[in-house]
């Protein structure tokens, strides 16, 4: 029973949003791709942030075309002695073939108008 408050403290966490960014959103929004990387940090002792670099390769592995409209959020969740740093990126996979075809059709329609 005495350990109950301690156990409660271990489970309670506070989340904070550190940064948010968004790139331009495409017209084609059918294929959504999501990737996240995270790191557990004990007592704030951290020596590198190299885990961030895995984010683009994870996003690229799910999409053979272009990934755009990427919403990136970086949040930290603090527990009693440890904190979890998590970066999530969610975007849309646009096939480059369809985009070039769409661009070609746009250009041809512009030519017709002229």
């Amino acid at each position: 029973m005495r350990l109950l408050p301690f156990g409660f403290l271990l489970l309670v966490s506070c989340a904070s949003l550190k940064s948010v960014s968004l790139t331009s959103i495409p017209k084609e929004r059918k294929n959504k791709v999501t990737a996240s990387v995270s790191k557990w940090v004990l007592l704030g002792i951290n020596f590198d942030n190299d885990y961030v670099e895995g984010l683009t390769s994870k996003l690229r592995s799910d999409c053979s075309g272009k990934v755009t409209g990427i919403l990136t959020t970086y949040q930290a969740t603090s527990y009693l002695f440890v904190s979890k740093h998590e970066i999530t990126a969610a975007g849309f996979c646009v096939s480059q073939g369809s985009k070039s075809a769409a661009r070609a059709s746009e250009e041809s329609s512009e030519e017709i108008q002229l």
């Binding site: 550190k18 940064s19 960014s21 790139t23 331009s24 007592l43 704030g44 002792i45 951290n46 020596f47 590198d48 942030n49 961030v52 670099e53 984010l55 683009t56 996003l59 690229r60 999409c63 272009k66 990934v67 755009t68 990427i70 990136t72 970086y74 740093h85 970066i87 990126a89 975007g91 480059q96």
Partner: protein
């Protein structure tokens, strides 16, 4: 041991330099290619801590406190990390990236803003990684 434990963490972080991530931004990804990396850093100074330390060393705590209060008047407002004195160095990031990918497209950029803490001084860093395609 209970009293000393937070100080052990402080001394450890001060001597080794714990790194903190302030922000991350991911740009559009077109394809893979040559990996690019640019890292720019500058020395950040925590004036309040530095002056307190100087006051203790020279035994002029009151003067150091007054000076710290005056400096605080023009160093207020939200910021990430400590103050720096060469803000123009961040403008080199884009030319450095372009120089690594002269004829291709730079994409898949991850921009991070980091801070390595050494108690009263710090390393204020901006790191950008990306890919060069179509070169």
């Amino acid at each position: 041991m209970k009293l000393y434990f937070p100080w052990i963490v402080v001394v450890f972080c001060t001597s080794v330099g714990c790194i903190e991530l302030h922000s991350v931004q991911v740009g559009d990804i077109v394809g893979s290619g040559k990996k690019l990396k640019v890292e720019v850093s500058d020395l950040g100074i925590d004036m309040d801590k530095s002056l307190k330390l100087a006051g203790r060393v020279t035994n002029k705590n009151e003067s150091a406190q007054k000076l710290s209060s005056i400096i605080a008047l023009f160093q207020y407002g939200p910021r990430t990390g400590n103050v720096i004195y060469r803000p123009q160095i961040w403008t080199n990031i884009s030319p450095d990236l372009r120089a690594q990918c002269m004829n291709g497209e730079v994409n898949g950029l991850i921009s991070t803003r980091e801070f390595r803490n050494f108690n009263f001084v710090s390393t204020e860093m901006a790191r950008v990684t990306g890919y060069c395609t179509g070169e």
